[in-house]
């Protein structure tokens, strides 16, 4: 067993510097690495390029980094659930690159899997295709998209073991598995960290080879963005 466990979030985030490109797992506020984001706020790391489907809300998720102006550029598919984001984008302080969600996921997966580029029909004929190579396959037009290059990927899983194996829960899975191994170093924070040998290998979603550092988050708030219910 190759040990991946680190004891603290500080140790996990060691080496993250100003100006780096970082992937963050999560969809909305679901399955985001809360503890790592809180620590990045404390560390005051700035000029970051963030690859993340969304940008959090004003006072949670990546919104916390936005508030402190630590983000230089966002690469996302859907943003603007927060006023500060809008203000920074319109004033030109924040650079925003919007890309189709499936393309975002596949650019992560391609980086993980060592595929430098791929063709997708998403965005053909739209401004997303501007400047990109196009090609016809089976009578349909596609555009070429490249794998992401990132310094760190920070993901959140439900359970993990000291070998870095991960298990996800519900739709908190989302982009997290796609980002494992898609950057030079992958950091996983988990709700429950167990000794290697405890998890059933049949149930492992992401093998530890794709994770370099793993730690148990101190606490999880798991905020709900849209609480929708029905009456009993």
């Amino acid at each position: 067993m190759i040990p991946k466990k680190v004891n603290t979030v500080q140790e996990a985030l060691n080496g993250i510097e100003n100006g780096m490109t970082i992937m963050f797992g999560g969809f909305g506020l679901c399955g985001i690495p809360e503890n790592s984001i809180a620590e990045l706020v404390k560390k005051e790391t700035n000029n970051l390029t963030c690859i993340s489907n969304n940008a959090g809300i004003d006072d949670f998720g990546l919104g916390l980094l936005l508030q402190k102006k630590q983000i230089k550029k966002m690469i996302s598919s859907y943003v603007g659930e927060n006023a500060e984001f809008e203000r920074q984008m319109l004033s030109g302080e924040l650079e925003v690159n919007l890309i189709p969600q499936g393309t975002l996921a596949e650019r992560c997966r391609a980086a993980q899997a060592g595929i430098p580029a791929f063709f997708t029909p998403a965005g053909f004929g739209t401004e997303v295709a501007t400047g990109k190579e196009t090609r016809e396959f089976n009578g349909k037009m596609h555009i070429m998209e490249h794998a992401f290059k990132a310094d760190f990927a920070i993901v959140k899983a439900w359970k993990g073991d000291t070998a870095g194996n991960l298990i996800f829960k519900g739709t908190a899975r989302n982009f997290n598995p796609c980002m494992c191994g898609a950057a030079k170093i992958t950091i996983a924070e988990v709700e429950e960290l167990v000794e290697a040998g405890t998890l059933d290998p049949n149930q492992v979603n992401i093998p530890g080879i794709l994770v370099q550092r793993i730690f148990q988050g101190e606490k999880y708030e798991k905020r709900i963005e849209q609480r929708t219910v029905r009456k009993k």
């Binding site: 969809f27 598919s77 603007g80 499936g102 829960k169 929708t228 219910v229 029905r230």
Partner: protein, 218 residues
Amino acid sequence: MLTKEQIAKRIAQEVKDKYFVNLGIGIPTLVANFIPKGIDVEFQSENGVLGMGPFPFEGEEDADVINAGKQTITTLPGASFFDSATSFGMIRGQHVDLTILGAMEVSENGDIANWKIPGKMVKGMGGAMDLVASAENIIVAMMHVNKVGESKILKKCTLPLTGVGCVKKVVTELAVLEITPKGFKLLERAPGVSVEHIIASTEANLIIEGEIPEMVID
């Protein structure tokens, strides 16, 4: 003229047995409430769930189980969770039978614009570009005219496109339109709405053949 619920009801008639369906935000979400009895359907949400059920009962919300609109949801027997790459794999791979989404504009060659108004805050396309580029069967739920009465059913879209030549059918508060190689064909009209009213509310040309029946909505 149809209400939003009635638009959803009419679209629900297009959902066939054994369909996997992706519903967009807004009117499309309502379609789930009107699926005819005796039909087996599974709803996919692109953030990574198949077999979506209704909203949870109060107190039973799970922050880890949401839909693409970030709303808390439940799952039904046979449901599954998966990652985003797998999710868009099933969309791009055309395993999802029907996509229902909203639009700001649709043109007579099936182009759709629904993600950006230049000069206004741009929130992003989310999964819409992947969905419209890949799905074989796309139905658009939208209002026929905007707030100042201008047609959103156009010869050519004026807003930045989400996808080209992809929409198959449009259901509005006034009509059901099919997109044919020759343009919009008027299939049905809303109860009490005349063909003349629809023509006057539509910037694009309409193909009108014979008597146009009224929609049947119970």
